[in-house]
């Protein structure tokens, strides 16, 4: 589909690049966010198939912002993908949902651990919590729908899976993903630059401990 530009209030635009999950769209959403932020009108938030572009209407009229988008999309399509870092997450596979996820998936616990740690993931984008990176794709054998009733408290460092994706909870929080392990790696440090250990576009590897 061609990109659709929607007003998100009078201070932002939501540029929708597609309607379904697709790794190429994730990369395009990120490139559009980079191109927007390079103009210094305001921040951008890329996600699966869309990019939120924020601006101050006292400085940039919304219709002028809309007119910038086609050029940015062309630039984003042409932009070389940035060098991505590899982030290794030392993981103890002892989460409370480990056995359940293995059973749902028709795997032994050892097979589940091998499947989860046996491939590199792409960090699609960050959201939900500071430093929370949505990573995928999971081995399709791993069956892990979101919990029907989210936990009130997931501890910081919990390694989780849900719906074809995996992530680490950087902070203690309510959460609906299934917990298969934990890490001591600090995923969000407000004193660090950048504060998030995993950046969008990075490769992520879970290393069993």
């Amino acid at each position: 589909m061609t990109a659709r530009i929607r007003a998100f209030g009078e201070r932002a635009l939501l540029v929708e690049l597609g309607e379904a999950f697709d790794e190429a769209l994730v990369a395009r959403a990120r490139a559009l966010a980079d191109a927007w932020e390079a103009l210094r009108h305001g921040p951008a938030v890329p996600a699966y198939a869309s990019t939120l572009l924020c601006f101050d209407p006292e400085r940039l009229a919304p219709d002028a912002a809309e007119r910038l988008v086609p050029g940015l999309l062309a630039r984003a399509a042409a932009a070389p993908s940035r060098e991505s870092a590899l982030v290794e997450i030392p993981t103890r596979y002892d989460g409370p949902d480990l056995a359940d996820v293995a059973a749902r998936s028709g795997l032994s616990v050892d097979e589940l651990v091998a499947a989860h740690s046996g491939r590199d993931y792409t960090a699609y984008f960050l959201g939900f919590l500071p430093g929370f990176a949505y990573c995928g794709r999971l081995d399709p054998r791993i069956v892990a729908p979101r919990l029907e009733r989210p936990r009130e408290r997931v501890p910081a460092g919990a390694v989780a899976v849900a719906d074809g994706q995996t992530a680490v909870y950087p902070l203690a929080s309510p959460g609906g993903w299934r917990l298969i392990g934990r890490t001591d790696l600090v995923l969000f440090d407000p004193a660090a630059d950048p504060p998030a250990r995993i950046g969008a576009g990075d490769r992520v590897r879970f290393v069993p401990r």
Binding site: L14, C54, G127, A196
Partner: protein, 299 residues
């Protein structure tokens, strides 16, 4: 320094917010009622990006080491120094003079700006507190915060901003209006919604007629303060300053910035009525709200 003599519930430092790290999942934060915040800053002679206190739960009492121009804004706020004074007025307070900020049972957020601004160390480019991620802290009684050099003098006292919290809440439809049926949109823009008690700086939860989307969830996307998310159950949530950077529920409408304070300051049990406006009208209302503020000027 400013000294916090009495804190009834929660006080935090807030400024223009932490927009630069949204892509790391860091919430924007900043004032829940942006217009009241900007009014307090303008009355105290500060820039919109300076830091002030956001206070939940009154009374709140403070004193400063030196004489300062201060301003208190928010819904139904007043202050007591030597005399009782209304809110939304710039006041010159003497060194060491204790000032108490007062509210009513309807006050949710009060803003205290002090000339020179709060000079706490910025973290990730902002002084706004988001304690859940280790960014700033909830302030305690007995604490003290550094202040910048004063920028306004006694002669700037007595300026006022005339602002009222009544009236409808202007909102633009969308961005996901097409996920909702005509009936849901008509109900959203035509029915009163009651504010629920479990509302906070992340969002204001509303109860009213169901405005459920035709399809449940969307692909998670970036969201802004003012977004009216509708979970499957059909009861809307208006996002405020501490909202998550992304969301997976369809957004039926987005409250214009000028009216965000009306939502933030609504007390549990009160009703809000949303009025559909287009972008030009949203911009016009934003300009009209800013025109209420005294022109910001450095000395």
């Amino acid at each position: 320094m400013i000294h916090l003599d009495e804190v009834s519930l929660r006080a935090t430092v807030q400024d223009g917010g932490r927009g630069a790290h949204l892509r790391a999942g860091v919430p924007h934060a900043g004032a829940a009622d942006p217009l009241a915040f900007r009014a307090a800053q303008a009355l105290a002679g500060n820039a919109p990006g300076d830091a002030a206190l956001e206070i939940i739960g009154l009374p709140f009492a403070f004193h400063c080491d030196d004489a300062r121009l201060v301003a208190v804004t928010g819904r139904e706020v007043s202050l007591r120094a030597r005399d009782e004074l209304p809110g939304w007025v710039s006041v010159f307070v003497r060194a060491g003079q204790t000032v108490t900020v007062l509210g009513t049972e309807r006050t949710r957020f009060a803003y205290l700006a002090v000339s020179g601004g709060l000079a706490t160390p910025p973290l990730l480019g902002s002084r706004s507190a988001y304690p859940a991620a280790g960014l700033g802290a909830v302030l305690r009684a007995g604490g003290a915060l550094p202040l910048g050099a004063p920028r306004a003098e006694a002669s700037a006292a007595g300026r006022t901003v005339a602002f009222t919290y009544g009236g409808t809440v202007a909102a633009m439809a969308g961005p996901h209006a097409d996920r909702f049926g005509a009936e849901a949109l008509a109900a959203f823009f035509g029915s009163p919604f009651r504010v629920l008690p479990d509302s906070d700086r992340q969002g204001v939860r509303l109860a009213g007629p169901s405005v459920a989307p035709r399809e449940g969830e969307i692909l998670t996307c970036g969201v802004v303060a003012g977004a009216v998310q509708v979970p499957r159950g059909g009861q809307p949530i208006v996002l405020l300053a501490d909202h998550q950077t992304t969301g997976g529920y369809p957004v039926i409408a987005t409250v214009v910035e000028a009216d965000l304070g009306r939502v933030a300051q609504a007390a549990p049990g009160e009703e809000l009525l949303f009025e559909r406006v287009g972008r030009e009208e949203a911009l016009r209302r934003g300009a009209a709200a800013r025109a209420l503020l005294p022109a910001y000027q450095y000395p």
